[in-house]
């Protein structure tokens, strides 16, 4: 059994054997809520494909993406940190598939198997670095640079060069008005880095896009590589 999820894949064969009987495969449609705000977390999710978005909510249905997790990580981090809920909302922004398990058995496994616990804690550290750099980017980088960063981060978490997303959705991710997304996509397309069509962005020149993103991209990715292993 070869997992696409980087954490499941990185575990020792013995630790994989511990988890395997508890993992249930399912597909996840776009929009599926994995974690509802301020409600007990009942499952943890190891994504095999697709991408989830962690949203900090600001009253009503306003909010901004503060982090993302795909096959690089898992959803349900508060459980590793001895918390049973979070004020964030986590949902699938790109459809995919996952292995999930119940939170009770997950807690028990964490208590009994240091190898699993340590890997997941190292992921929490890697994820935490990602969110701090999201904060940095939101304050210091232009919309174009932040869009480039976001596209690179999505591209890291899938095999294909085509990323399925709407302008509406990108506006939520970047915390900007939709026309700002239209303009930013147009600029990156004008530079030849991407091709934007309705509901889809295709990465054309990844290295050039990385160069354009500059300091907006790279530090959390290097940290992930140091703590866990290959991201892409």
């Amino acid at each position: 059994m070869i997992y696409k999820n980087r954490l499941l894949r990185t575990l020792s064969p013995d630790d994989q054997d511990v988890l395997r009987p508890h993992l249930r495969w399912s597909s996840l449609e776009r929009g599926t809520v994995l974690v509802a705000p301020n409600e007990p977390i009942e499952h943890v999710w190891f994504l095999e494909s697709g991408m989830s978005s962690i949203i900090a909510i600001s009253g009503g249905d306003q909010g901004i993406e503060v982090g993302l997790a795909g096959r690089d990580g898992f959803v349900g981090m508060p459980l590793v940190l001895d918390a049973d809920r979070t004020p964030h909302r986590i949902f699938m922004q790109i459809a995919g598939a996952c292995y999930s398990m119940g939170s009770d058995v997950f807690r028990q496994v964490m208590d009994e198997h240091a190898g699993i616990r340590k890997l997941l804690l190292r992921y929490v550290q890697a994820y935490s670095t990602q969110t701090t750099y999201t904060a940095l980017s939101n304050a210091m980088h232009t919309i174009e640079e932040r869009l480039a960063r976001w596209l690179l981060m999505s591209h890291d978490r899938q095999d294909e060069d085509e990323i399925a997303l709407t302008h509406d959705f990108l506006a939520l991710m970047l915390g900007v008005r939709r026309p700002s997304v239209t303009i930013a996509l147009h600029s990156l397309e004008g530079l030849g880095f991407i091709k934007a069509t309705r509901g889809q962005v295709t990465i054309r020149r990844r290295e050039a896009l990385e160069e354009f993103a500059g300091s907006a991209y790279g530090v959390p990715e290097a940290e992930y590589q140091r703590l866990i292993g290959q991201l892409r």
């Binding site: 232009t142 919309i143 709407t166 302008h167 509406d168 900007v176 008005r177 939709r178 026309p179 700002s180 239209t182 303009i183 147009h186 069509t197 309705r198 509901g199």
Partner: protein, 86 residues
């Protein structure tokens, strides 16, 4: 809700809004264009760029132009008055 398309025209080219937004009415689309224009100005000022020649062209899903919104309309009124007085 009807779908409105907020294209951006800078005098030489038009950047098409291919997806559009669902909004209650044309007045809401006009407001959305103004809010976006303020965001454009914020970025433009940081770059020391003048985007006063740009405008939003609002159309319906058949491409019929319903309204245009000049970038200048998004500037604070007293600033606009001051610029016009020069």
């Amino acid at each position: 809700m009807p779908r409105f398309f907020l294209h951006i025209d800078d005098g030489t080219q038009r950047i098409e809004d291919e997806e559009g937004s669902e909004l209650p009415d044309l007045a809401a689309a006009h407001e959305e264009a103004l809010a976006a224009a303020r965001q454009f100005w914020a970025a433009a000022i940081l770059r020391q760029q003048d985007i006063g020649s740009r405008r939003f062209v609002i159309s319906d899903d058949e491409g019929t132009v319903l309204d245009t919104v000049e970038m200048d309309e998004a500037l604070p009124r007293d600033l606009r008055d001051r610029l016009q007085g020069r």
